[in-house]
């Protein structure tokens, strides 16, 4: 077996950190697909960053033990040198975009490799095709949805035609079609004798026969082994008793300038969890923001009962700005003049032990939970969540489900926009699909 990477008792500690994020890691990486599993904050992202040398070269810090990637000593080889053969897609793909349009963004990597223009054009076309987005080639990145951006980032990595492809939570915003396209592409690369390493909380979306699994926990590899199955779908949950309508939209047309969805009639009752699914770019976020009152409808009406609205944006990190997590939740309490303590919601999201930490020092999954705690504290009457399980591990998903169950039981009307159809089936009393500008009911829990 060709070794793509070899780590021997490798450890790494970030600057100004007291704890080693990776501790005495020993493993060999061969051709094919390797899936990296583990809870939020277990060190997956750090290990992935080792594979292209960002750790330790870009971040600094302290490394010990030995590591080789593509026969290069990790400590002696710069990231830019490794990057000619190792491509990486980051957990937050929107942060990696350099240029303004899709075609040019996908071409950026091949341009850095110094390839001739006709080969760059060929690679860009093939990569866009493989991710199912050739029609987005001339679009501006700023106009794309989160899922579409994730596909662009993946296409940009594929256009580099790397020997080793490293993907950090690549399906967190992808619809089923996009995840399927990525799965095929991973299989194709594996069959060509290349290596693909994926950190993914829903590994069954990308894994293929023969995939290898590495389990990471608190910076150590705790297990290796074969395939994981998708958790069985939940059994029938008793339907909740619903109150009167909390909000209602009629003949609604939504969009920024041009309409993306028309003739929408929808309502949500107190005590109901309504999930909005649909393909990437179908307008889920636009509809959610319009119902929440953050965007003006192009036509039609939105009627909300008086009461507090809680809103979690798709990129929640931006709302966190206090020095500690407990301060962050307390800030919402102060602003809204709520009569409650920050601790119960922190406990609900298993964040009490991190309460004194700066939210920006947390992992992406932990940040997501922190943002949820900050917006959901105090039992809002209406809740609007945009991709709330982005980067969330199975435990975080369960915690979210539990909190939403509690809130719905207390009478909150909850709207969740998500590309995660499994989550929608698990938590939703009703699931509506938005596709091709129209809304249709996918499922409803029997009353």
């Amino acid at each position: 077996m060709t070794e793509f990477a070899q780590f021997e008792e490798f450890g790494y500690c970030y600057p100004e950190s007291e704890r080693f994020s990776l501790d005495q890691i020993t493993f060999q990486l061969g051709a094919g697909l390797t899936l990296l599993n583990g809870p939020s904050g277990s060190g997956k992202t750090t290990l992935l960053r080792c594979l292209n040398g960002l750790v330790p070269h870009f971040h600094g810090g302290q490394a010990r033990g030995r590591a080789w990637v593509l026969d290069q000593d990790l400590r002696l080889t710069s990231t830019r040198r490794l990057a000619r053969e190792v491509a990486m897609v980051f957990q937050e793909p929107e942060s990696q975009f350099v240029l303004a349009t899709v075609r040019r963004e996908v071409a950026f990597g091949p341009e850095n490799l110094g390839l001739p223009a006709n080969e760059i054009a060929d690679r860009v076309a093939v990569a866009l095709q493989s991710m199912g987005i050739p029609e987005l080639a001339e679009r501006r990145i700023a106009t794309l949805s989160g899922g579409q951006r994730q596909r662009v980032a993946l296409a940009a990595a594929l256009a580099m035609r790397p020997r080793l492809l490293v993907l950090d939570e690549p399906t967190s915003q992808l619809d089923d079609l996009g995840a399927g396209a990525l799965q095929l592409e991973c299989q194709r690369l594996a069959s060509q004798g290349r290596a693909v390493v994926v950190a993914e909380h829903r590994p069954w979306r990308v894994e293929a026969p023969g995939s290898r699994h590495l389990e990471l926990n608190q910076g150590s590899i705790t297990a290796t082994g074969g395939s994981r199955r998708a958790p069985a779908s939940v059994g029938a949950r008793p339907p909740r008793s619903l109150g009167p309508s909390a909000w209602e939209v009629s003949e609604l047309t939504v969009g920024h300038q041009a309409p993306v969805a028309t003739s929408i009639n929808l309502d949500c009752h107190q005590g109901e969890v309504l999930c909005l699914t649909g393909p990437n770019g179908s307008g889920k976020t636009t509809l959610l923001r319009t119902v929440a009152g953050l965007l003006r409808p192009l036509s039609g009406s939105v009627q909300r009962r008086p009461g507090r609205c809680a809103y979690l944006p798709q990129e929640p990190g931006g709302v966190l700005h206090q020095a500690s997590l407990v301060e962050e939740v307390s800030q919402t309490i102060r602003w809204l003049r709520l009569d409650c303590s920050p601790w119960p919601i922190l406990e609900d999201f298993q964040l009490s032990s991190l309460a004194g930490k700066d939210p920006r020092d947390l992992s992406t999954g932990q940040r997501q939970r922190a943002a949820l705690a900050a917006v959901l504290v105090g039992g809002p009457e209406m809740v609007f969540l945009d991709e709330p399980t982005r980067g969330a591990d199975p435990t975080s998903r369960q915690l979210l489900q539990r909190v939403l169950d509690r809130l719905a039981g207390e009478g909150s009307a909850i709207l969740v926009a998500t590309s995660d159809t499994q989550l929608a089936q698990q938590i939703g009393d009703r699931v509506q699909e938005l596709a091709s500008g129209q809304l249709r009911e996918r499922s409803q829990r029997a009353a």
């Binding site: 942060s95 850095n112 490799l113």
Partner: protein, 272 residues
């Protein structure tokens, strides 16, 4: 518009607006810069924030000059002498000179902004010589950070508003400004990391496309170059009007040769 032709035009605007203090020439240059920006900006770009920024910069320039110059014969009002730096006469001449400076500054800002509103950042990168391609790519990435900051500000303001934040005085805006800036700084670090991970700087770069010259681009470059040449000739032959508002305000006089050079800068606005 070809970015190289645009660059020649921008160079002409900068030279003509900074090379003379004559207000007539500066008004003409600012007019040309605005006309070209309005005619050629990309459809998706917004003009209003630019005009606001230019307006604020111009206003501050006038204000600072009035408050700090204390020179000139026509005294509008006198501030008490114990006020540090500000104390003394505020004059009409100071206001006129501040306005003149503001006109030049506004022309420069509008011309500079047109580099990002008329052409895409990647077109600028592509038009640079191979030797500067890495610098250009870094510049292109830097240019995306300004809209990112704007996007971040709007997103954070929205999210905080939904958490109950309401603007109450300057201090309350820290809840929006601090996370916006932090997010943008974090984004810059991530971008630098991503560029490194995408082999930026690992060797000589190539480009997917190269910018082409159309006849209109040649006309723009030629007229802009002629404006630069004409202005330098006017400077060399002493044909530039020498306007000075101090000690007493006088009206500027029209000098045809440099004025024609300024009028040449309107040509891109007339071309498709």
């Amino acid at each position: 518009m070809n970015p190289r032709a645009l660059a020649v035009w921008v160079a002409a605007v900068l030279l003509l607006s900074l090379g003379s203090e004559d207000p007539i020439l500066r008004v003409l240059t600012l007019g040309a810069a605005l006309a070209v920006l309005v005619a050629h900006r990309r459809v998706e770009t917004r003009l209003r924030p630019v005009l606001w920024a230019v307006g604020v910069a111009a206003l501050l320039t006038v204000l600072f000059n009035v408050l700090l110059s204390h020179t000139g014969q026509t005294v509008l009002v006198s501030l008490p002498g114990w006020l540090p730096a500000l104390g003394g006469p505020l004059t009409l001449e100071g206001a006129a000179y501040g306005l003149d400076l503001a006109l030049g500054l506004a022309a420069c800002i509008v011309a500079g902004v047109s580099l990002s509103l008329v052409v895409e950042s990647y077109q600028l990168v592509d038009s640079l010589p191979a030797l500067l391609s890495r610098t250009g790519a870094a510049l292109g990435a830097a240019m995306t950070l300004v809209p990112r900051l704007g996007h971040s500000f709007v997103a954070v303001r929205e999210a905080q508003h939904m958490r109950g934040w309401r603007p109450k005085g300057m201090r309350s805006w820290t809840a929006v400004v601090v996370p916006s800036v932090l997010t943008t700084i974090e984004g810059s670090v991530l971008l630098a990391e991503a560029m490194e991970a995408r082999a930026f700087g690992s060797g000589p770069r190539t480009a997917l496309t190269t910018s082409r010259w159309r006849v209109t681009d040649l006309v723009i470059a030629a007229t802009s170059a002629a404006a630069i040449g004409g202005f330098i000739a006017a400077l060399v032959f002493g044909q530039l009007p020498a306007w000075q508002p101090y000690p007493a305000l006088t009206l500027p006089t029209l000098s045809w040769w440099p004025a024609l050079c300024c009028l040449g800068l309107f040509i891109p606005a007339l071309l498709p």
